[in-house]
């Protein structure tokens, strides 16, 4: 019996819901969370992965209608290649998070009252995300989107006894709803021209350039806010650190990609037109997000906040690739557009995998040392070798270094950008290289950032006592990280195989696949043509490994003869952990050069006991430039509206009469 991918997807949704239901009982029976709920969660992820793979391999489109929803608008479910790809993404990360959770949530079992919330909302969160990706009409999409936002709100507010977390959760909820409103309005525009809320109806809509631009702007704002594009990103660095670490992994790794899915679905599939003006907007915002994201990440000392800002950077990179795709498609170069599109998709799954891995590592550090501040960490590689190794894999991947996966998607993006010579417009031909230069600098800054993270946290000497005595990391946490590290390696070593696997996505969405990418065999990745550029990923990795083995063997005769000694200390006192470079010291040159982009408050002040205190506060400029003025505007507007509230009943009746008159006049 052949199990259809659609059935598997349904099984995944059902399992996620079941895990949410079962965890309701975990207040009474705390072991339920670890023994039943998380395995269900893991299985849900596995089922989603299988469903996605099945769809991609078969390449078909499966549509069905659920017997739920409104009588004249039942919920439609559609599983095509794009949904299948994102199902794989959700599935892989959920599977790894499910493996990781038992070890992590054990520390929450002391506070039994909150366990149902944790398990329940996690299950609902996964359900929401799966349904968003499977939705075939705006109604189910918005319901699932809302479910996703609300359940993640409760998860962000999980540690609600701290005021900062409450504030972060409120900001998150607020921005999620503003974004949701924008998306809904976008669907409204599409539905009014397409006569219906089903996606099929919206696809048939014939939009003029003006209305299509309105829908595009609404979708861009709505999905961009959820994905975390500058300047609508302020909730990300507040919300992601506040949530428990495995939820941060899900949020940063998966939820942001669901927003990317929404953007692709609405702009590439439903609106269906491409205009170069839109692509310039997307490229501009993507570049700014990428650069600002990584610069802010470099300034952070809180590990999870740093990772959150790094997510802003990577989302910027994904949107740069999407912008390039739109640009080339709108100027009539479908091949290069497909390459850029595949680059965006590849970077989505890469980021999902390595960001979740990094958040899991941060969770492991938090679990064993109760420390999030980089300035207190150090020397953790010795206390947790496996976590250190997997975190290193994550750092190398996110810094886009060969032979891991981050490099492949950056390479593909550069290859697409380098085809700018094909464009007719000279102005565009000079803008695309500038975007590529911004991409290059963000790559280099990302490498600097993750050298800082790994060097300060895992290498060197411990800067505080509780870090020096960190406990062991539980096995399940190591297993979850190991799975993702393996995925990083595979995605980096076999890009041709994976691009072949997701070939159905550009084929269905853009009408043009990327057949030439694997035209020269599984060894060579040739996205445009063999003469233009090729990358032999397995060869590079094999040669690296062989040369390493050779080197170790040639010099191996002395491999045990390494004596230990003191480090160089200029002949003065031996180095103490306090003499090491701190995280803020590492980033100081960059902080100084790019200083104008931040709001830096740095100085030293004398303390009453005669010592001096150095302080450094780096704040996001977006608050002062964007959020506070908008908030002031809203407050002023609402104060004007308050004048309506006079308290007099006759005034209220007067308003009612006036409104009734106006409505009657309008409908006449």
């Amino acid at each position: 019996m052949v199990i259809s991918p659609l059935l598997l997807a349904g099984v995944a949704v059902a399992l996620a819901l079941l895990s949410a239901l079962v965890s309701l009982f975990s207040a009474r029976l705390p072991w339920l969370l670890r023994r039943v709920v998380t395995p269900l969660f893991t299985l849900a992820g596995l089922a989603a992965l299988a469903a996605g793979l099945g769809t991609l391999i078969q390449g078909g489109v499966a549509v069905t209608q659920l017997p739920l929803g409104l009588p004249w608008l039942p919920w439609g479910v559609r599983l095509d290649a794009l949904s299948g790809f994102f199902l794989c993404l959700i599935g892989v990360v959920s599977f790894a998070v499910g493996l990781y959770s038992p070890g992590y949530v054990r520390s929450f079992e002391k506070e039994c009252g909150s366990l149902p919330a944790l398990g329940g909302f996690s299950g609902l969160f996964l359900t929401g995300m799966l349904l968003v990706v499977l939705a075939d009409d705006a109604f189910l999409f918005m319901v699932a989107w809302e479910l996703m936002s609300l359940s993640s709100y409760f998860l962000v507010a999980f540690h609600h006894n701290q005021a900062a977390n409450r504030r972060a959760a409120f900001l998150y909820l607020l921005m999620a709803h503003i974004g949701g409103l924008a998306i809904l309005l976008g669907y409204g525009v599409l539905a009014s021209f397409g006569d219906g809320f089903a996606f099929d109806a919206m696809r048939q809509a014939d939009l003029s350039f003006g209305w299509a631009s309105v829908a595009f702007v609404l979708a861009f704002v709505g999905f961009g806010m959820k994905a975390g594009l500058v300047p609508l990103h302020a909730w990300l660095p507040e919300a992601h650190p506040a949530a428990p670490s495995h939820i941060s992994a899900l949020m940063s790794g998966v939820m942001l990609k669901v927003a990317v899915y929404g953007f692709i679905r609405v702009v590439f599939d439903l609106i269906g037109q491409f205009h170069w003006q839109w692509s310039v907007a997307v490229l501009a915002i993507g570049s700014v997000s990428a650069l600002m994201g990584i610069l802010y990440a470099l300034m952070q000392n809180d590990l999870k906040r740093l990772l959150a800002y790094s997510s802003v950077e990577n989302i910027g990179i994904i949107f740069i690739a999407l912008g390039l795709a739109m640009l080339f498609l709108s100027t009539g170069h479908p091949v290069v557009g497909s390459v850029a599109f595949v680059a965006a998709l590849y970077h989505s799954i890469n980021h999902a995998v390595f960001k979740s891995l990094l958040f899991m590592g941060a969770g492991a550090v938090l679990h064993t040392t109760h420390e999030r501040d980089l300035e207190q960490m150090g020397g953790l590689l010795r206390r947790m070798p496996w976590t250190g190794l997997f975190f290193l894999v994550g750092c190398i991947s996110i810094a886009a270094l060969p032979p891991f996966n981050g490099f492949v998607s950056e390479w593909l993006t550069f290859q697409a950008a380098l085809q700018a010579w094909q464009l007719d417009s000279g102005v565009l031909r000079s803008m695309v290289p500038i975007v590529a230069a911004v991409l290059a600098i963000t790559g280099a800054l990302a490498a600097a950032c993750f050298v800082k993270v790994y060097g300060v946290a895992f290498l060197g000497q411990a800067r505080s006592r509780h870090v020096r005595r960190a406990r062991k990391v539980p096995f399940s946490m190591r297993l979850g990280q190991g799975v993702l590290a393996l995925m990083c390696l595979l995605l980096g070593l076999l890009p041709t195989a994976f691009i072949d696997l997701l070939n159905a996505v550009p084929q269905q969405v853009l009408g043009h696949g990327l057949a030439q990418a694997s035209a020269h065999g599984w060894l060579w990745l040739t996205p445009i043509s063999a003469e233009t550029a090729s990358y032999g990923a397995p060869l590079v990795a094999i040669i690296l490994v062989i040369a390493l083995m050779l080197g170790l063997w040639l010099l191996g005769r002395g491999i045990r003869r390494v004596r230990r000694c003191d480090a160089w200390d200029c002949g003065f006192a031996p180095p103490t952990p306090a003499m090491q470079y701190t995280a803020s010291a590492f980033a100081q040159p960059i902080r100084r050069v790019f200083g104008m982009l931040f709001h830096i408050d740095e100085g030293s002040e004398p303390q009453p006991d005669g010592r001096w205190r150095y302080y450094l506060n780096v704040r996001d400029r977006a608050w002062g430039l964007f959020y506070l003025p908008v908030a002031a505007l809203v407050e002023r507007a609402s104060r004007q509206v308050v004048r309506l509230q006079s308290g007099n009943i006759r005034t209220y009746l007067g308003w009612t009469l006036a409104t009734l008159l106006v409505l009657l006049w309008l409908t006449a």
Binding site: G426, V427, S430, M596
Partner: protein, 228 residues
């Protein structure tokens, strides 16, 4: 036709035009006054070379005279006069570092792209082989103006003014094979007279407000006088 089919001399003019653009960036960003004067002299030399090559390969003999005039004035006489001026005002080691160099460079690059975009319809027509240089010369003019806006030191402002003139001259040479000789001579002597007047002016300014920072001239406004 592609770049490879052009004769060597004409390829050389393209290279020289590109280096002229680089010298205008150097003028814009150079903090040291004496180095800025040298950059201006190099710019003049390159413009003279372009003129000479256009004269040779395009067959405009009067341009040789223009080239010689440019060489004499822009490369030798005016920089020498400026050197003397700087020496007498004791500004030999004067430095005026830019406050936001990255922003200014980006603005200058945007001006280059903008001039390219402006000149595009012009370039479509079949003009001389050097019509692409019109975009570069317009960029030089705009960057010269930007220089006058950004820099506060009076001598540097003069250099900006002169580089505007360089750009206009280059545009004339590359688009239409030079201006009529009478116009050229008139413009050249106008520039010379302007230089002399600048020299006299600077002494007066320096003695009255004891500096050559043009922002200090704000003290001459009525409001400032009321306040003082």
């Amino acid at each position: 036709m592609s770049l490879g089919e052009l004769p060597f001399l004409q390829q050389l003019t393209l290279v020289l035009a590109a280096v002229v653009l680089f010298t205008s960036f150097a003028l814009l960003e150079q903090a040291r006054l004496v180095a800025a004067i040298h950059a201006f002299a190099w710019q003049g030399l390159l413009v003279a070379m372009v003129t000479a090559i256009v004269a040779a390969s395009g067959g405009y003999p009067h341009l040789f005279f223009s080239a010689a005039l440019t060489l004499g004035l822009k490369v030798l006489l005016i920089p020498w006069m400026l050197h003397r001026l700087v020496h007498r005002l004791q500004l030999d080691r004067h430095r005026e570092p830019l406050r936001r160099p990255a922003l200014i460079t980006m603005a200058a690059l945007a001006l280059v792209i903008f001039s390219y975009w402006l000149v595009l319809p012009l370039v479509q027509q079949e003009l001389l082989f050097t019509r692409n240089i019109v975009a570069v010369s317009l960029a030089v003019v705009l960057i010269g103006l930007l220089m006058m806006v950004i820099r506060a030191q009076a001598v540097v402002q003069v250099l900006g003014f002169m580089s505007i003139e360089n750009g206009l001259f280059l545009a004339a040479v590359s688009a239409t094979g030079g201006m009529p000789l009478v116009v050229e001579l008139g413009v050249a002597f106008d520039v010379l007279v302007a230089m002399v007047l600048f020299g006299v002016f600077f002494f007066q300014i320096s003695e009255s407000i004891d500096s050559l920072d043009v922002d200090r001239l704000n003290s001459l406004t009525e409001r400032a006088e009321e306040e003082s």
